[in-house]
């Protein structure tokens, strides 16, 4: 990727004219103080995400990408640097940007309806019921309204968690390897579902994964992170329109480019 393209991608001005910046980080550094040595997890991260963009943060396990996401969502204060969302500095979690954990984030003591309605305590009863019904339909959990999470499969729990997140109508979603616990067939289905939902309700999405294919299939841009202490190695713009053909040359080129970037051969 040329230098010009990289900078343009970071400014989000290459396609669709001018787009507003949704999230910006500046000089983000994270150091965990342990009993003995300090662990430098993130090193000087500068990142910009545009409104309505789908950005994947890609890197090997344990490299710190989840930490980056948690800081962006306001759960962890960074050691140095700052995160701005909509021009405001981030100080803590906020319902306008919901974090989706792996399916273990659903509350096991609430039914499907209870979970989806969890964040809707400010609405009237009628509004709440309407919203819940809408999102149950959107994620395809009809018939399971009164079921408890332990009665659902992994894929269904994941969809429940996404529905719960969407129900409060956030601007941004943070997804931390949400499909990691699912089998690969379910994963493919879930990716398609996520894209369908994203196209229906254009949220800004930051999605963390260690799966290269997943990143190239889903994202507008892929932020490739190095191993710990994590720095941004490269940002790759995926300029293929959805639905993406995963056997097309462009797809394979982009994918292989990232493979090489991470230093992997593509022969098993």
């Amino acid at each position: 990727m040329s230098v010009v393209q990289t900078i343009a991608a970071q400014r989000g001005t290459e396609r669709n004219g001018k787009r507003t910046t949704k999230l910006r980080t500046e000089g983000l550094t994270m150091v965990f103080k342990g009993d003995g040595a300090d662990v430098r997890v993130l090193e000087d991260i500068h990142l910009e995400v545009s409104e309505g963009e789908f950005v994947c943060v890609l890197g090997p396990s344990g490299c710190g990408k989840s930490t980056l996401l948690n800081i962006a969502a306001g759960f962890l204060p960074p050691t140095h640097g700052q995160v701005w969302i909509d021009g405001e500095a981030v100080h803590g979690p906020d319902p306008r940007r919901i974090f989706v954990f792996q399916e273990r984030g659903v509350f096991p003591w609430l039914t499907v309806e209870g979970n989806i309605g969890f964040g809707l305590f400010k609405l009237s009863k009628a509004d709440r019921a309407g919203r819940i019904a809408h999102y149950i339909k959107l994620v395809g959990l009809q018939g399971f309204e009164q079921s408890y999470p332990q009665e659902l499969s992994g894929g269904m729990k994941q969809r429940l968690e996404v529905a719960r997140a969407l129900a409060v109508n956030p601007d941004m979603l943070f997804l931390d390897e949400p499909f990691g616990a699912l089998d690969s067939i379910t994963r493919l289905i879930m990716r398609r579902e996520l894209l369908r939902i994203w196209e229906a309700e254009r949220k800004t999405i930051m999605f963390v994964t260690h799966d290269i294919e997943e990143a190239v299939q889903l994202a507008d841009r892929v932020v490739v992170m190095s191993a710990r202490p994590a720095k941004i190695q490269r940002i790759v713009e995926i300029d293929i329109p959805h639905p993406r053909d995963i056997s097309s040359n462009r797809y394979l080129d982009l994918r292989d480019g990232i493979f090489e970037q991470i230093g992997l051969a593509h022969k098993v």
Partner: protein
């Protein structure tokens, strides 16, 4: 032997009872009663109105001591579990107090409350307080961080977080702790009654022996203690079966 499966435990008990009966008959001194004598003893107590009276007395003390301990210990434990430094401060003292048998507190309890109900209730309270506190502390510590983060993410303030996330998340573990501690309280009330008061099932055991070597009543008392203890346990276990709690119990 091709016995229907459900009856086998019953059969086992019957065998034990038969062995007991034989052993009782064959003893030279004829002090210890056989099962039939015990049944007769229970009937006698029921007839004299003592059975109900003593059961109620024991249950009364357990209920009061246990309830007070629950009301104080659970919030304390939840608070301690949430604040690391306070827990650090109090933990060594908890660990030192824990192994002290509640019965070792009897002299002090009699000193403060005299001989009677209050002393016994105090002992039950002591016996229940620390285990419940420790249960609550462990329950809070084992909450998945994710639930609390999700709660904060959806904009819950501290109070809402407490009763919409923290409390439902710890409830299953608390119930198990309550059941186990109730078992301990039941053990202690019997012991406390043997030493410090003059009614109740524990007292029955000591009194029946002291006032005439009525070992049939002694064993009758033991049987009643076992039965009521078991009923209390079964009652608590039924709480674990509430559907919205079942997620917290992987298997039993």
């Amino acid at each position: 032997m091709n016995f229907p499966i459900r009856l086998r435990p019953v059969f086992f008990v019957v065998v034990l009872l038969a062995l007991w009966d034989v052993a009782a008959r064959r003893q030279s001194s004829h002090i210890l009663p056989g099962p039939l004598a015990v049944l007769a003893g229970i009937a006698e107590l029921a007839q004299r109105g003592l059975l109900l009276k003593y059961i109620v007395a024991s249950l009364f003390r357990v209920t009061w001591g246990f309830a007070m301990a629950t009301v104080l210990a659970i919030p304390t434990g939840l608070a301690l579990g949430s604040h690391r430094r306070v827990e650090m401060a109090l933990n060594p003292m908890i660990q030192i107090f824990r192994p002290i048998s509640p019965l070792a507190w009897i002299p002090i309890s009699i000193l403060w409350f005299g001989v009677g109900d209050l002393a016994a209730i105090f002992l039950i309270f002591l016996a229940s307080f620390l285990p419940l506190t420790v249960t609550a502390i462990n329950a809070v510590k084992s909450i998945e961080q994710i639930y609390l983060r999700a709660g904060r993410n959806f904009g819950l303030d501290q109070v809402q977080l407490l009763y919409r996330v923290l409390y439902p998340a710890v409830a299953p573990q608390l119930i198990i702790g309550l059941r186990i501690t109730l078992g301990i309280a039941w053990l202690v009330v019997v012991a406390a009654e043997m030493i410090a008061v003059n009614s109740g099932l524990g007292f029955l055991i000591v009194d029946a022996r002291n006032a005439g070597n009525r070992y049939d009543l002694v064993v009758a008392g033991m049987v009643m203690i076992g039965v009521i203890g078991l009923l209390l346990d079964i009652g608590m276990r039924s709480l674990e079966r509430i559907r919205s709690m079942r997620w917290g119990y992987s298997e039993d």
